[in-house]
């Protein structure tokens, strides 16, 4: 009897979960070419619904794009003998190199603290602080500084109410990848929310790669540094000597 009741309740609850998000991206490859100046990505999608539109709660959408994580040190300056010097450093185990959140409304209103903890949506939760060296009085100040600096550089973006949701079904938003982004796989997560809870989630990836020549130079620099150094010297000698030889030839 109890099992039947549980099954019945589950079935009754199912329609609530029966909203599904379908997502498309304007591009899932970004190429860092010679003249790369940043890139704009359009994220659009629809909500598939196998039930009547609930009228007691509002539907919200959050789009989060996360670049490859990096280990970093955050330094704080203090005045020593008249000049400003890095005096204190705080390690960060992993911080996304890029993090952008776009929403249909104010993040604090549409996302509950529990759901944020589970899905790590807000910028603050996307950063993993190192547990060592927390003897400092204000470890949070370092993480806040990291967010502040990267927001100023456009690497972290919190764009509330920039997702355009039409008739609770179609949504779209644009996000800008600045020119300083690093290579790697960028995870794009799209959340569907009701009453502060995530009811559906979709994940896809954007591949950010250096173009052929840039890729080749970077690989050479890191895998064959000696050859790369020789290449750098060859180019310097070739252009330095070649240009002056050319000018001598032109003059005579």
């Amino acid at each position: 009897m109890r099992v039947v009741l549980a099954l019945f309740l589950l079935l009754a609850a199912l329609p609530l979960r029966a909203e599904e998000v379908i997502v498309g991206l304007s591009q899932n490859r970004v190429s860092l070419t010679v003249n790369f100046e940043g890139s704009e990505i359009l994220i659009f999608g629809a909500v598939r619904r196998e039930m009547a539109l609930p009228e007691d709660s509002a539907l919200d959408v959050i789009v989060a794009i996360e670049g490859p994580p990096q280990q970093a040190t955050i330094w704080r300056k203090a005045r020593r003998a008249g000049i400003w010097v890095n005096t204190e450093g705080q390690e960060v185990r992993a911080a996304p190199s890029f993090y952008a959140v776009a929403t249909t409304g104010p993040l604090s209103e549409i996302l509950s603290a529990d759901a944020d903890l589970t899905h790590r949506i807000s910028t603050r939760l996307a950063i993993f602080e190192a547990r060592s060296g927390v003897d400092r009085t204000d470890p949070a100040a370092f993480t806040e500084a990291l967010i502040r600096i990267r927001e100023a550089e456009g690497l972290y973006q919190q764009r509330e109410s920039t997702v355009d949701l039409q008739r609770d079904t179609l949504f779209s938003t644009r996000l800008t990848l600045p020119k300083t982004i690093v290579e790697g796989s960028y995870a794009a997560r799209i959340f569907l929310l009701r009453d502060g809870d995530v009811i559906d989630e979709f994940e896809t990836f954007i591949d950010v790669r250096k173009a052929v020549l840039e890729r080749w130079l970077t690989n050479l620099a890191y895998d064959q540094p000696f050859l790369y150094g020789l290449l750098a010297l060859f180019l310097a000698v070739f252009f330095g000597w070649g240009a002056s030889a050319l000018f001598r030839f032109l003059r005579s």
Binding site: A78, Y228, F239
Partner: protein, 306 residues
């Protein structure tokens, strides 16, 4: 037009880069200076990470001095023996400098070290240049002023292990040139410069070399030390950006040709005052950044990036 720099992992304006290379090239053509001491700080100002600016700056020095050293070798105005001693010192100095550079990078202090070195050295050479050119200006008005003695023997020349440098007509201890070389090598590795601005006065006033071989010999040492330092930066911290280097070099070689023409037509000795003031202005800008209370007290250094 933006240019993506694969090692610095950012993009900068191509015309700004050509302008920096070309502007410094004009100055180097006019005054016969290498210009590395201006290129590297100008790269900081346009947003190139200091480590990349230093390593790429030293690569650019190779390009700007190679044709000079070939011309001097052809004219036989290079004291090869002295050049070799200075070069051995330079390679040792470069190794020390690279070790120190990488140590300071790990400690998060490299930006400070590079900036401080620039403030000190630009301050000194700017002031000396200004003093020298003002004096030259006065001397040209008063031709009877006392002149410097051609060759003086000072105590450093009498250290042990004396060596004969026939081309320079010197018989002195190998230690002074060796130590001068070491100093120049350290500067090359930390500041991304050729070091001619230290080497040339040291050769004239400290070693007492005849001026006819000073330029050729210093170019000989600078070219090889810069080449070695480029290799060391490329191998130990992968901070040489060839894309950046090509733009600086192209701007530089064209600028140098223009500068040489200008130098022949204009009174270079008087314009030298302007160069001195420019050097002092760059020095003041860097000093200001160190002394002024910053708007942001925090900075980020990412592991494996610059």
């Amino acid at each position: 037009m933006q240019i993506y720099l694969p090692i610095a992992e950012t993009s900068v304006n191509a015309f700004t880069l050509l302008g920096v290379g070309g502007g410094v090239g004009v100055l180097s053509g006019m005054f016969g200076v290498g210009g590395g001491f201006l290129i590297t700080p100008l790269l900081f100002f346009i947003g190139v990470p200091p480590a990349v600016a230093v390593a790429t700056g030293v690569n650019q020095v190779v390009a700007s001095s190679i044709s000079g050293v070939l011309a001097h070798l052809k004219r036989k105005t290079v004291d090869l023996r002295m050049g070799t001693v200075l070069l051995i010192g330079g390679l040792i100095g470069s190794l020390v400098g690279i070790w120190f550079f990488n140590l300071m990078s790990r400690l998060g202090q490299i930006d400070l070290i590079v900036q401080l070195s620039y403030v000190i050295f630009l301050g000194i050479i700017g002031a000396l240049m200004l003093q020298e050119s003002l004096r030259a200006l006065l001397r040209s008005k008063n031709p009877n002023a006392a002149r410097r003695k051609l060759h003086t023997h000072i105590w450093v020349h009498n250290l042990p292990m004396k060596m004969k440098f026939r081309t320079s007509g010197l018989y002195i201890s190998v230690f002074p040139p060796l130590l001068v070389g070491v100093g120049v090598g350290i500067l090359a590795a930390i500041m991304g410069v050729g070091g001619g601005f230290v080497l040339v006065p040291a050769m004239i006033y400290l070693l007492g070399m005849p001026t006819k071989v000073v330029i050729g010999t210093s170019l000989f040492q600078v070219t090889f030390v810069a080449a070695f330092t480029t290799m060391m930066h490329a191998v130990t911290n992968q901070s040489v950006d060839v894309m950046l280097a090509i733009f600086l070099i192209l701007g530089g070689v064209i600028g140098a040709q223009v500068g040489t023409r200008i130098g022949l037509k204009l009174p270079a000795e008087q314009l030298r005052i302007l160069l001195a003031l420019l050097v002092l202005a760059v020095c003041a800008k860097i000093a200001f950044d160190l002394l002024w209370t910053p708007s942001e007290f925090y900075s980020i250094s990412v592991k494996g990036r610059f």
